[in-house]
């Protein structure tokens, strides 16, 4: 017989009747299968994120190549100190989110919640700093696109350089889309903290925390590329 029915040979029977943890969805045979699937799914999603940003990086590269002067001048008005602080803030938050996974593996609920909450605070700090940076630009009429109209010392001279608005458009679009990802990440992390507090997770099952962590790392990594390209180079 070829594709015969095999009632006794598969683990599914065992899992379904003897031991069925509450987190295991009915269409999976085992927790490992469910976990592996979720993780593979998340990795694929992260690939789509990278491709999404890659188009922006290509646009950056093309126009930087075409208008090197404009890019150099415009980029020099960005505050690299605030940028560096933000880089450190995000890197630290990646550490804390990694710690939360470490702690949940040790079944330490309290420390898990604390590390998630500190990630949340750091992410918030990142956005606050970003907010001040944006405001400092808006004050001087540095807007994306058509609204670009630099005023005040230190900015006025930009008006004379062609294609400077393009740099700022790219700057605002890239950091803006990154910022949206940070906000989404904060939502996820807050939700994880709440669920961890409620006791949803244990060393046996913490898939959502792990996936949120992966997502947060990619948000971090994208910033690691944005920062030098926009502020330093």
């Amino acid at each position: 017989m070829s594709t015969e029915t095999a009632p006794a040979t598969t683990e599914s029977v065992e899992t379904e009747h003897d031991h069925h943890p509450p987190h295991l969805q009915h269409h999976f045979v085992s927790s490992e299968q469910q976990f592996d699937s979720a993780k593979l799914g998340m990795w694929l999603f992260l690939i789509t994120e990278i491709l999404l940003f890659s188009a922006l990086f290509v646009a950056y590269a093309v126009y930087r190549n075409w208008n090197p002067m404009a890019f150099a001048e415009a980029s020099s008005t960005l505050d690299w100190v605030l940028g560096s602080v933000n880089t450190i803030v995000l890197l630290t938050s990646s550490l804390t989110v990694a710690l939360s996974i470490h702690f949940i593996q040790k079944n330490d609920k309290q420390k898990t919640v604390i590390s998630l909450l500190s990630t949340l605070v750091l992410a918030g700090g990142f956005l606050v700093i970003k907010y001040f940076e944006y405001m400092a630009k808006f004050e001087h009429g540095i807007y994306p696109g058509e609204a670009f109209a630099p005023t005040g010392s230190g900015y006025e001279y930009l008006a004379a350089i062609p294609y400077v608005p393009q740099f700022f458009s790219i700057y605002f679009v890239m950091t803006g889309i990154h910022g949206v990802h940070v906000v989404i990440g904060m939502g996820l992390i807050g939700w994880m903290a709440w669920r961890a507090h409620r006791g949803d997770f244990s060393d046996e099952w913490y898939t959502p925390v792990e996936l949120t962590g992966l997502y947060w790392h990619i948000v971090d990594i994208i910033w690691i590329f944005l920062f030098p390209l926009l502020y330093l180079v």
């Binding site: 070829s2 299968q33 188009a55």
Partner: protein, 579 residues
């Protein structure tokens, strides 16, 4: 669908099936069952296909003769634009994966569902949201950019473009969700014994498709977003007046849209392998070559987008390189065609309706692929670009390829989906009408294009009148065939003969191990797979036989030892085999 469910539940002592289980509208709309989601997609896509098809008929009517007119020039622009956008982004790209992939994939690999059922449902809602945005775009203004949205024209158009590009951004997520779900499902949800070399080729086709969906779709998403920002804020990325580069838009657009044509055709290849193997009663020739050529096409497909831009002003060197890589695509495509033909050779070809579509596909896709190579030749394309020749080419591959395969697949899996048989005679007549109508419509367009008829033109000179008239007549034959399909499909839902479990005597799991109408959880117990998907000679539960391998279907043996093709009413599988 409800009608079928209703009909099914009338007979008492009916076993539980996915159609008579949880039948309220609310339960349908919140279902996580991949089969029901497939049907929800089927209904939505059928509506889109109907609307976009009627738009095409309007275009053909307008072009019927130089002095006949049913609409103004600007209405004409809007009509072909909406036809193209709806057919490409809202119909063909999702079609085969979302309908048949959803329904069949878990059944073929022996899984209870896809890996992420909730994401699957979400994908349908996201798709519907994209549809809603499309309707909004129609309401708020005129859209006349063509389906390609080339800048700077598109970035200077009204709000309609914003909503339409928004719709494409949103429905792209539906595509990503489906692709992501399928990749994980294929990797992680296979039944015991379902090794990679035993995957049905439809699954391989879907796997390659999903890779393209996941890798290419985000790029069109961000492109559409940038176009929206260009419109609203004038960010100067695509608009040359602001220092932007319209060619960059074309690069981004085709970086998605060329791979997207493989999103359309790879699952069609998959269906074709199933049809050819089943209806030739023969183990597929070159299983690995077919499986891996799909993956090869998926990869190569990312390297040829520049062949759409030969006359757009990209550098000559890029054009030459893109042209050369484009030729390479012909190799894996050719490998497939030869393997299918070799499968039929000395097989016992059984000309049921799905097989008629498979044969149509072989014929039409070959023309489509060869004309593709022709426009891939740099020097030739300078003449043929933006003529009806290109229109003819892509209709041969998209309609003659994808849609014909979808039709074949729908007929093939119709009994499994609805539990009913369609009318075979009408099916054959419709397949004939579609084949003839299609060729009359589009072969003339190849000729028109080679004579210099430009695409997207509202008026044309008299010397093209005759061929345009023939093409319009052909489109009516084609449409009559398609409406005939719609008619007998609806009829069969209510009055069709009840389908047996395995009407085609196929050897893949969805036929051998799943009830006539599948159980809500697909399998009554997890299948254990011990043979390949087309090993008919080992599929004793399909053909009977003692299990000693005497019933040979591989075409290698003498006539006497070869399996006769099933007669008009194919032998139903033995009852006990399905248990």
């Amino acid at each position: 669908m409800e009608a079928a469910a209703h009909a099914a539940s009338q007979t008492d002592a009916e076993p539980r099936t996915y159609l008579n289980h949880e039948t309220s509208l609310w339960e349908w709309l919140t279902t996580k069952d991949h089969k029901k989601i497939g049907i929800m997609y089927l209904i939505s896509l059928a509506v889109v296909f109907l609307v976009a098809g009627l738009l095409a008929m309007a275009v053909r009517l307008e072009l019927m003769s130089p002095d006949f007119s049913i609409m103004s020039a600007s209405q004409y622009n809007q009509t072909f634009t909406m036809h193209g956008i709806m057919m490409v982004f809202l119909f063909i790209v999702p079609s085969i994966p979302a309908i048949l992939g959803n329904f069949v994939l878990p059944l073929q690999i022996g899984a209870k569902d896809v890996a992420f059922p909730r994401l699957n449902l979400a994908s349908w809602y996201v798709y519907i949201a994209g549809g809603a945005l499309t309707v909004t775009a129609l309401l708020v203004g005129e859209l006349s950019t063509g389906w390609t949205f080339y800048t700077p024209y598109s970035s200077q158009q009204g709000t309609a473009v914003i909503f339409m590009t928004g719709a494409i951004f949103v429905s792209g997520f539906a595509s990503i969700f489906t692709g992501l779900n399928f990749i994980v499902t294929i990797h992680k949800m296979r039944a015991p014994g379902m090794t990679w070399n035993r995957l049905p080729l439809f699954v391989w086709g879907l796997y390659a498709t999903s890779i393209v969906q996941v890798l290419a779709t985000p790029v069109v998403g961000i492109t559409m977003l940038l176009l929206i920002l260009e419109q609203t804020l004038q960010i100067g990325i695509f608009d040359p007046a602001l220092g932007g580069d319209p060619i960059l838009f074309q690069h981004f657009f085709w970086f998605y849209s060329h791979p997207a044509v493989y999103i359309m055709i790879l699952p069609a290849f998959g269906i074709l392998s199933e049809l050819i193997a089943t209806f030739s009663r023969q183990r597929i020739f070159g299983y690995r070559a077919i499986a891996l050529s799909s993956v090869a096409i998926a990869m190569l497909g990312f390297l040829v987008w520049g062949h759409h831009m030969f006359v757009s002003g990209q550098s000559a060197i890029s054009s030459i390189v893109f042209s050369l890589i484009t030729y390479l695509i012909g190799i894996p495509s050719g490998i497939k065609i030869f393997n299918w033909i070799a499968t039929m050779y000395k097989g016992s070809v059984w000309l049921q309706t799905p097989m008629l579509y498979a044969l149509s596909f072989l014929f039409l896709f070959t023309i489509g692929g060869l004309t593709g190579i022709m426009v891939g030749v740099l020097g030739v394309d300078v003449h043929l670009h933006d003529t009806y020749f290109v229109v003819g080419h892509f209709h041969y591959v998209m309609m003659g390829g994808s849609v014909i395969a979808l039709l074949g697949g729908m007929h093939y899996w119709w009994p499994k989906i609805t539990g009913r048989m369609y009318n075979e005679t009408l099916g054959k007549i419709a397949a004939g009408l579609v084949f003839v109508g299609f060729n009359v419509t589009f072969f003339t367009q190849l000729v028109l294009g080679s004579q210099g008829m430009p695409r997207r033109y509202y008026e044309y000179v008299d010397r093209f009148a005759e061929l345009h008239m023939i093409s319009t007549i052909g489109s009516f034959i084609l449409a009559s065939g398609l409406f005939l399909v719609l008619g007998y499909a609806l009829h069969s839902l209510f009055y069709g003969k009840k389908a047996p479990q395995n009407p085609w005597a196929a050897a893949t799991l969805e036929w051998t191990n799943v009830a006539a109408i599948p159980d809500p959880h697909n399998f009554t117990s997890t299948p254990l797979v011990t043979r390949g998907p087309y090993d008919f000679h080992k599929a004793d539960e399909v053909f009977g036989g003692s299990g000693d391998g005497q019933a040979r279907g591989d075409g290698a043996g003498s006539d006497a030892s070869r399996l006769a093709p099933p007669e008009a009413a194919p032998s139903a599988p033995k009852e006990d085999a399905s248990a």
